[in-house]
């Protein structure tokens, strides 16, 4: 509002509580918006509507019994959470995971990453208003869920990756299904590109909105695609390779301007890279056992570990303190969604109401993980 007008007409800022019941808050997130007309002055995310006390619950369960809780943190990429937790416990108990299990873990984590990014594309599309853009990725995600269903009988909460390895070996049918999926994936991504990426309106909505510079991203502690979209080359799969990731050749897609568009493109590109990793892992799958020798009663020695894994949303970290008993003394989980959500105020300030939902969508928070 210009000076001359504001002298005549008195304007007032107002509060708008967006959520927890709102079509596009990705669950039960509440955003307290302070608005000047349609322009956002301040955006405060309020969480806690889905708090279940998982960290505390884990203290009263033994290490094996904690597995189902990790599934329910980030429920659209449960494999990656199990993966992170198992790696932390294995490091604590000094267990050596067989190489075949490591490869299978990589395959499943990357497939789950693709599924998670498909959810991202779908929810971004529907937040931008393209209802059809939502249906196609969700339809294709079913293929991955079918693979997981065949693999372990579950579609959302797998608990397939276990402490010391994986639950069972890959069956021939699963390998066939993965191969068929990999063959079709390229066509699927092309379809999203036709429907969304090339669309003029979609580009206008995403480009130059909610810009985060590399410096700001680092200060906020962002990780994952959020950080890489700002141009910071940081991917734990490369920088701190674990579970045989060093065996695979893949690129880390980077953005340069850190706007919503880059966050979208980075994830689109990551899907192809993940498919590349899965293909390499399937082709080079070593023979051997899929489970290490894990004692029936696991009593890790006294001490503490902090292990990080690259999840689809960023760095999933597990800080576990053991007091030598069967139960963990304390578990702290670094949830990437929670930490990435800090950027919301920065991403919304000065933009319009329509940009708030897009900004939130490109953060891609999963409320199960935010509230823990």
């Amino acid at each position: 509002m210009t000076e001359a007008v504001s002298k005549v007409i008195r304007t007032e800022e107002y509060q708008l509580s967006m959520g927890p019941v709102h079509p596009s808050t990705h669950g039960v997130l509440q955003i307290l918006l302070t608005l000047d007309g349609e322009r956002v002055v301040k955006a405060v995310p309020c969480m806690g509507y889905l708090h279940r006390g998982i960290e505390k619950l884990m203290e009263s369960r033994n290490y094996f019994q904690c597995m189902p809780y990790t599934d329910r943190l980030d429920y659209v990429s449960a494999m990656n959470n199990d993966f992170a937790y198992c790696r932390a416990v294995e490091k604590l108990a000094q267990l050596e995971v067989p190489e075949r299990a490591q490869y299978i873990r990589v395959i499943m984590a990357e497939l789950n990453r693709i599924a998670s990014h498909m959810i991202f594309i779908g929810s971004l599309a529907v937040d931008v208003g393209a209802t059809t853009g939502m249906i196609y990725p969700f339809r294709d995600r079913e293929c991955i869920l079918d693979i997981f269903n065949e693999l372990c009988g579950a579609r959302m909460t797998y608990s397939y990756i276990r402490i010391g390895g994986v639950k069972s070996d890959l069956s021939v049918k699963v390998i066939d299904m993965i191969n068929v999926f990999l063959k079709n994936l390229s066509a699927m991504i092309d379809e999203y590109n036709d429907l969304l990426t090339g669309n003029e309106i979609f580009q206008h909505r995403l480009k130059n909105t909610s810009v985060i510079t590399a410096e700001q991203a680092l200060q906020l502690g962002l990780t994952g695609p959020m950080l890489r979209a700002s141009g910071v080359n940081y991917d734990l799969r490369k920088d701190n390779a674990y579970s045989s990731y060093e065996d695979f050749i893949f690129d880390v897609p980077l953005g340069n301007s850190g706007d919503n568009w880059d966050r979208y493109i980075v994830r689109m590109k990551e899907m192809r890279q993940s498919a590349k990793i899965v293909k390499q892992a399937l082709d080079g799958l070593p023979e051997g056992s899929v489970m290490a020798k894990v004692p029936k009663v696991l009593r890790p020695p006294k001490g503490e570990v902090y292990v990080t894994t690259e999840g689809p949303r960023g760095e999933v970290g597990y800080h576990i303190i053991s007091d030598g008993t069967v139960k963990p003394y304390r578990v702290h989980i670094r949830r990437p969604s929670l930490i990435n959500l800090q950027a919301l105020d920065l991403m919304c300030r000065g933009y319009l109401v329509g940009d708030v939902v897009v900004a939130m969508s490109t953060i891609d928070p999963i409320l199960g993980e935010v509230d823990c």
Binding site: L16, S24, E38, G129, A130, R205
Partner: protein, 345 residues
């Protein structure tokens, strides 16, 4: 004089009533009532068909089935929905301005239905052939913005409030390019009368003479009917449902009715102004009219289910900075064209 199927039916009917009653005045009165009933019947039936069609088209585009459970091919789904909406509890927000809030859905339907008075459905089948027909349509259609604003304010809900403000901004931005694109058609015809505009297209449809005006008209009509990519007033993922947020049950159904009546209006206007109205070979006029109208409705649905939503500033920028200059340019070009045409012949 007129040879349309509808007019012949109406003549037969009026002759029949006349021979029964024997008073011309009463016959005319009965015929007017019948015509009004007919228009409302057309609107209601068309809305029911459109709602079903929208779902099936949407399902087709989104690679799924759409409604297919109630009745054969799900054609009774709309009826089932109507029953459900009518049986819902009528929730009135505690802080709402009761009277204004209550009459808004009903008021919204009036301008939506009123414009049908001047639409030529067939040869001679026009309720009142006003000499300012198209001007009347524009004037009446722009009234609906008031209801959005009143509904948005009276709901005492911030989402509704934003939606109401958006409605004003959007309608203002869309009406002006629309009016100018229609003006080009009027210049070619030399009349504001709907029947003359249709008659002028007996040779060539205006979509071929005025392609630019046609495109501008389609875009601004999408804005006018609040459909994606310009469904900012509803903006589901942003402001829930805009001015309709607090309405439920039958009141919401009235909004829905008005919305689809407006969509039908958009299709009928496009058909009348650019696609030759009821004119076409072999088949009767009314059949051609229905074919063209539903083709246009399909196009609008196709647009809706393909594109994302624009942002309010982008939409207004597009409207004022691109559509309006283009429409003005079109008027100048048309003026020169008409002048040269008159000079040559």
């Amino acid at each position: 004089m007129h040879s349309g199927l509808l007019v012949m039916t109406a003549d037969m009917l009026s002759n029949g009533i006349d021979s029964l009653i024997g008073n011309t005045l009463i016959t005319q009165f009965i015929m007017v009532i019948l015509e009004i009933v007919a228009i409302f019947a057309v609107i209601s039936v068309a809305v029911i068909i459109q709602v079903y069609m929208e779902r099936r088209v949407c399902g087709f585009i989104q690679d799924r089935l759409g409604p297919n459970r109630v009745g054969p091919f799900g054609i009774l789904q709309t009826v089932a929905d109507m029953i459900k909406l009518m049986s819902k509890e009528d929730i009135i927000p505690a802080k709402a301005e009761r009277v204004l809030w209550g009459i808004t859905p009903m008021l919204l339907f009036i301008p939506a239905a009123l414009v049908y008075a001047v639409f030529p459905f067939d040869d001679g089948a026009i309720f009142t052939d006003l000499n300012i027909g198209i001007f009347f349509v524009l004037a009446v259609m722009s009234q609906s913005v008031l209801m959005f604003l009143i509904g948005g304010f009276a709901s005492e809900n911030k989402y509704s409030f934003i939606g109401g403000m958006r409605a004003v901004a959007q309608m203002l931005s869309s009406e002006i390019p629309m009016a100018f694109s229609i003006m080009a058609v009027v210049m070619v015809t030399g009349s504001l009368k709907m029947s003359t505009i249709v008659a002028a297209q007996s040779g060539t449809w205006f979509v071929f003479i005025q392609p630019l005006a046609f495109i501008i008209f389609i875009i601004s009509m999408t804005m006018e009917t609040n459909r994606t990519p310009f469904d900012l007033v509803e903006g589901e993922s942003e402001i829930i449902a805009g001015p309709f947020t607090e309405y439920s049950g039958m009141r919401w159904a009235l909004f829905f009715l008005a919305e689809y009546t407006n969509l039908l209006t958009a299709a009928v206007l496009t058909t009348t102004l650019f696609l030759g109205g009821w004119q076409g070979p072999v088949l009767p006029g009314i059949v051609w009219f229905i074919i063209k109208v539903f083709l246009m409705i399909f196009v609008f649905m196709w647009i809706r289910w393909t594109f994302p939503r624009t942002r309010i500033d982008q939409m207004m920028g597009f409207s004022w900075k691109i559509l309006l200059p283009l429409a003005l340019f079109n008027i100048i070009a048309t003026g020169i064209g008409v002048y040269i045409y008159n000079w040559m012949y």
